[in-house]
Symmetry: C2
Subunit: 317 residues, 2 copies
Amino acid sequence: MPSEFELISRFFSRPTRQAVLGPGDDCALLAPSAGMHLVITTDMLVEGTHFLPGTDPWQLGWKVLAVSLSDLAAMGAEPRWALLAASLPEACEAWLAPFAEGLFSCAGRYGVDLVGGDTTRGPLNLSLTALGEVPAGTALRRDRALPGDDLWVSGQPGLAALGLAQLQGRTKLPAALAERCLAALQQPLPRVELGRLLRGLASAAIDVSDGLLADLGHILERSAVAAEVFVAQLPALPAGVDPVLARQCQLAGGDDYELLFSACPETRNEVVELGKQLDLPLWRCGRLTASDSHRLALLDANGRELTINRKGFDHFG
Amino acid sequence: MPSEFELISRFFSRPTRQAVLGPGDDCALLAPSAGMHLVITTDMLVEGTHFLPGTDPWQLGWKVLAVSLSDLAAMGAEPRWALLAASLPEACEAWLAPFAEGLFSCAGRYGVDLVGGDTTRGPLNLSLTALGEVPAGTALRRDRALPGDDLWVSGQPGLAALGLAQLQGRTKLPAALAERCLAALQQPLPRVELGRLLRGLASAAIDVSDGLLADLGHILERSAVAAEVFVAQLPALPAGVDPVLARQCQLAGGDDYELLFSACPETRNEVVELGKQLDLPLWRCGRLTASDSHRLALLDANGRELTINRKGFDHFG
C-alpha cells in the first residue's frame, strides 16, 4: 500500500498558480492581496451523515470543495485557495484518482489552488478549508439586514433534497426531473459570481445549506429582524412530484447552496437585471419587518399565514 | 440534546481580538498584516489513529491546536488564527466543556483566536486549520538546507513516544520519567518562540511529528542533500528505561513537536546563545553533505556507521 506521503504527492500535489509555497512543507505560504480582507471557512463532510456510503468519488471530490465555495459566495468573496484534510479507511487508488479529479475539476472551474492538506487513516471524513478575498469592508454578512428589505433567493431551492428522497426511495421522480435533482445534490454549483455581484447591493446574505427557513432564521437572529415569506412567490413546485414533499424540500431541504439575501426595495430593478445578466432566476420571496423576535411568518397568496415545520437540518437537533 | 448551533455558540464562540468577524457567519473575516505572508496548515486527528480512545478531553483540546502551532513554528510564523472542524459521536457536554477549555488554554497561551469551525455528528475526528504570519521572504522552509550546514534539534525527542509506550503497557518507566513523558505526549509545547527566533538563522526547519529520522528525510529530499547524524551528540537517553527502546523512540518516535533545523557552522555560537536565551537545549547532532541521494548515515562516537530502522510514523505505510 502506498505511503501517506506518496499518496499526497501523487493525487493532491498539483502545481499552484497563486501560492508562494504550495503542498510539501509544514505549511503553505500565501501572499494576501493589499486592501483585501481574507475570507475563510471550514466544512466537514462525514460518510453516513453528509453523504451516503458508496457515493461516487468524483462527485464527492467536486462537492467537498463546492460546499465551502458556497460559503465564500455568501460573503461575496473571490475564491483563491483551499486545503483538504482527509481520513480514509484505506488508500485505494481506484477511489482516490476519481476523487482527486472531481476536486480539481471544481478547483479549476472556480480558480482555486489546493495549497495543502493532510491524509490519514480512519472512517471516511473530508474536512475542507477554503480561503477567498474581498475588498475590505464590502463582505456580505448575516447581520446587516434591515426592516423593510426585500428577501430574495436564487435558483430553485429544494431540488437537492428531492434528489436525496429519490436516492433513498422515498419518492419516484419523473426521469428528467430525477436527473436534475440528482445533479443539484451531487454536483452543486456554488453561486460565486452572484455573491461577487451582490457586494454593495445585498444588505445580508447566507447560503442555503441547512434549508431555506432554517438559514433565513440565522439572518433574522443575527440582524434582529423578523420576516414574512410569500410562499406563492417562490418558484413553482416541479410537476410530477407529491406537492407536500416538494414544498417541504423547498422550505426545509438542505444541500441547495443557493443564495438567500436581503436588499432594500429601491434596488429591486438592479437585482432583477443581475438575475438576467447571470441567467439565474432570482425570486423576491418575502420582506423583513421590524421586530427583534426573529419571527418568521409564511404567508399564502392571500396574505394568510400558513404553518409548516420550519426546521432545517441540524446535526444534533 | 442541544443543537449544533447551540453547541457552537456555547463552547466555541468566544470573543475574538484579532478578527474582523469571528464565529457565527458563513465565513470569518480576517485582516492580514501588510508586508506579511500568510502561513497556513491543516491537521486531522482521528480517534484510534492519533490518540487512544478515552483520551482526556482537556489534553485533546490542547493538543489539537498545539500540533498545528508546531507546524507554524517550523515555518517561523507568528500564530494568529485557528478554525476547528469536529465530528463527534454525541453532543456530550461533560466532554465538550473540558475539551473547549483545553483548546482555549492553548489558544490563549499562544495568542491565537478561534475564528470559526464546523461541528457534526460522526466518529470522533478533529480537524484544525491554523494560520500565522511571517514577514514576506523570511519563512523557514524544508528546501533551503545546504551541504556543510550543521543539523540541530531542540529539547529531548523521544519522550512522547516513551509516554505512549508507557500508556500501552509496552514499558514501565520510573514515576518521575513517566510523568515527564506523558506530559510530552499529552500536552506538547509547540516551539513557537524558537521558530520565530530562527528566522534569518536557520537554513531549513521542520517539526518532529513523525520521528526525527523520518522528518530529517523530508529536509534531505526537499533540499537535495544527504546527512550524517552523530548519535552520540543527541541528548543522553533517560535513565531507568530499556536503552534500545529509548533510542528507537528518540530516532523514530512521533509526536515530539521539537524543531529540527539546519544552520551554517558560522552561526554555531548564535544558535547556542539562542538556546540559553530560551532555556531550551539545542543539540548539534549532525551535518549535511553534498549528495542528492538523500542518504542518511547514523554515526557513533567513533564515526562508525550504525544501522537502525529509520522508519517514522506513516499512516498508510
